[in-house]
Amino acid sequence: MENSTQESHLRPDNSITYESPYPLYSMALSSMPSRSNLNHQRIAVGSFIEDYTNRVDIFSFDPETVSIKTQPTLSFDHPYPPTKLMFQPNRKSPSSSSSDLLATSGDYLRLWEVRESSVEPLSVLNNSKTSEFCAPLTSFDWNDVEPKRIGTSSIDTTCTIWDIEKGVVETQLIAHDKEVYDIAWGEARVFASVSADGSVRIFDLRDKEHSTIIYESPQPDTPLLRLAWNKQDLRYMATILMDSNKIVILDIRSPTMPVAELERHRASVNAIAWAPQSSRHICSAGDDAQALIWELPTVAGPNGIDPLSMYSAGSEINQLQWSASQPDWIAIAFSNKMQLLKV
């Protein structure tokens, strides 16, 4: 499976690999530079062990020297594999607060305070008023306009919007007919979600009575697994289907009809991320062990859209993040490795 010829363009100055003792799935890049060194960026990775005890490890990355510094004191246990990790967005300056916030999802939404040399659990957010039970979370998204707001998606067909400052549920919506697999914010009050029912729906917190279905998978009930909203051009979002090599690009103003379908992966797609600083670029990664960068073209040719560039990893790429604070770097995770790649 190791493809040595493809990896030959890896050089110490344009990539770095972090090897974890366990398989990795979730991953997050901090938007806040580290206090001690402004050029460093924190990266959190979550293990995927099919057992109760899982780990979240945090280390820092220096894009100048292209090096990684592990920080064993910043590791903590997580019950079962975290389904998603995310640092608080838009924390450009370390002075605003001394520490970074990390959220994880799984049984509950949990908030952790990442300090210089320790991680403290801040809160466990359980949205059930009546019992300790809260349906497990498949994903969440942190609102970058309104950073006190986090939306979670759950297998109980609902999405829950949290006010994490007050630690209360702002609202809970039955969003779909089946499990909700991913959620993404567009604006302060507008979010979208994808579900096992095969639809992409947009919600506006100002009008909770309605949602708009903007896409439905072609074969009824083909689950949609991931959703990414283009933060540079909110008219566009991207989603991926179960067992499909397609990335479906949607325009929220032309519901039901995707504006483009990117079909150059040779196996199913696992992750997508829009470029943080360009509205036309998106990166995708899949079971074909490739990460592809696409430029949405001015005109789609008759043979479909070709990617701009590609990177081949050693095995199926499961996770992909395009750093907002270091837009020149894309992070991918495959097997037990995390790799940072120069764009």
Binding site: F48, F133, A135, D156, T171, D204, H210, D328
Partner: protein, 641 residues
Amino acid sequence: MATGVENQDRVPENLKKKLALAVRNIQWSYAIFWSISARQPGVLEWGDGYYNGDIKTRKTVQAVELDADQLALQRSEQLRELYESLSAGESSPQPRRPSAALSPEDLTDTEWYYLVCMSFVFNIGQGLPGRTLATGQPIWLCNAHYAESKVFSRSLLAKSASIQTVVCFPFSRGVIELGATDLVLEDLSLIQRIKTSFLDTPHQIVSNKSIPVAGSMGNDNDLACPAHDPQILETKLSPLLGCEQLEMASPDDSSDGFEPNQQVEEPFMVEGINGGASQVQSGQLMDEEFSNCVHHSLNTSDCISQTFVDHGNVVPLHKGEKDNDNNGLQDVQECNQTRLTSLDLRSDDLHYHTVLTALLKTSHQLILGPHFQNSNHESSFINWKNTSLVKSQKTRVETSQKLLKKILFEVPHMHMHDKGLLDSPEDNGIRKAAFRPEADEMCGNHVLSERRRREKINERLMILKSLVPSNSKVDKVSILDDTIEYLQDLERRIEELESSREITESEARTKRKPPDHVERTSDNYGNNKISNGKKSFLNKRKACDIDEAELEVNFVGSKDNNITVSMNNKDFVIEFRCPWREGILFEIMDELSIINLDCHSVQSSTTEGILTVNIKSKYKGVGVTSAGTIKQALQRVAWKC
């Protein structure tokens, strides 16, 4: 007005007036003065401008009637104010603007084009104005809306605004740009005349008829073009500043060879053909152009492509300058903007303001950011090659999206098992139907209490499941089946053991009364099957168990050594050894749940009458519990008799 102050140093005096005169005189749509930026040397930015195109909504506070000149000047100021308020950010632009101020909805496409131009910045030598400044030569661009973005970065924007002709020439310490919605063939004398007549003299010159736009083209086919374009036609119908093209562009003129296509209703199609027609006039690449345009218009399902024109086929006049070192960055930015503009104007979009703000902010970020410019490091990515397709065509057969599916489909169920809730699909059924806000509120009390009851039952079932060795099935019926089977099996085994022990015991002691014993056990199991009577049966048993316990204490030694409790926050791992007896596991689980421990995994084994239990559990009560409490509780159970 604010701009006037800000730009004083860079912009020649009275420039706006001069621009106004010039552009009104030749009846073009706008004039822009690009000046060298004071903040960023070597960069051209918006200096001043005058808008002379179509206007959609007029807003005014003055009671006084203004004449056309004043109105037009005021319009240009208002557009500038709107731009400034928009670029100031999302922080509610409304209060900053006076009531008569414009909002984006009030603008025509051409005004929007003019407004977005304000956000552009050009490096010298880059873009139309930048190149003009660098070469010192005027540039006359026809068919600007079809120009390659490398040549004319705003071509897409121009397309939405129907700007066809753009002219740039150096002036003062900057560049003047003029634009028209018509096709005007290159006429350097026009530039000369503007320079001498309007810009160099501070006095107002009213030449009655300088260059009738259509006249300069002298061709009927050209005149017909605007008429084919419904968009232009529409806007031209309400001209506020007297566009005489309208009269000339009457449908009667449209007697050229493209007639069959005029029936097509799709506006884009018509536009495309117009493009083709115009190209015929310029005598360039006729066939290719034409088919190309038609090809595009057919491709309407693609929203992105709709607004774009194929590169490389429609070659504008300045071919030689294509190789200009236009970095991709600028392209990205401008395409971004164009797409927003051309599409957004027509839709009454809820996201309008945000998108617009994002757009204006983005453009600046992109100019400054080093993104996509290859700096010292080389990319890890290589150019995508389709050839690699062949190499690994034979992709793996194993399940695709393995980890992603596990995360989405299986991990939640791991939690479910722990939490003890296994809602079958039927349970979700009631919540199906359409989107209902505030699930909990809508459900009402009955549903809530019902759910609570269900959760409790599920929780108990899960405890039961953890105690019973079972196959992998997790539905309720299987759990109960497994339990019944297990209990029957246990019963059988106990009977065997009892009978064998009876023999040994009766040898050692004679105190005991075996018949009694047997009777008791069977009695217990009867209770156990119903499982509700757990407590009462425990109590009942106490009295007769004492002697048995006494017997077993001896090989347990110090009680404390047999319990280890390790804790991590609210998670407890308990290792525990005690003499085995019937139902002790249930008692342990019961005791733990009384002290608010939620067990999610239990492993137990019995060897030689000693029960070894490994429990992972979570404290779910408020506050804290200590290892001591747990030990006490367990000791209570283990040595209670």
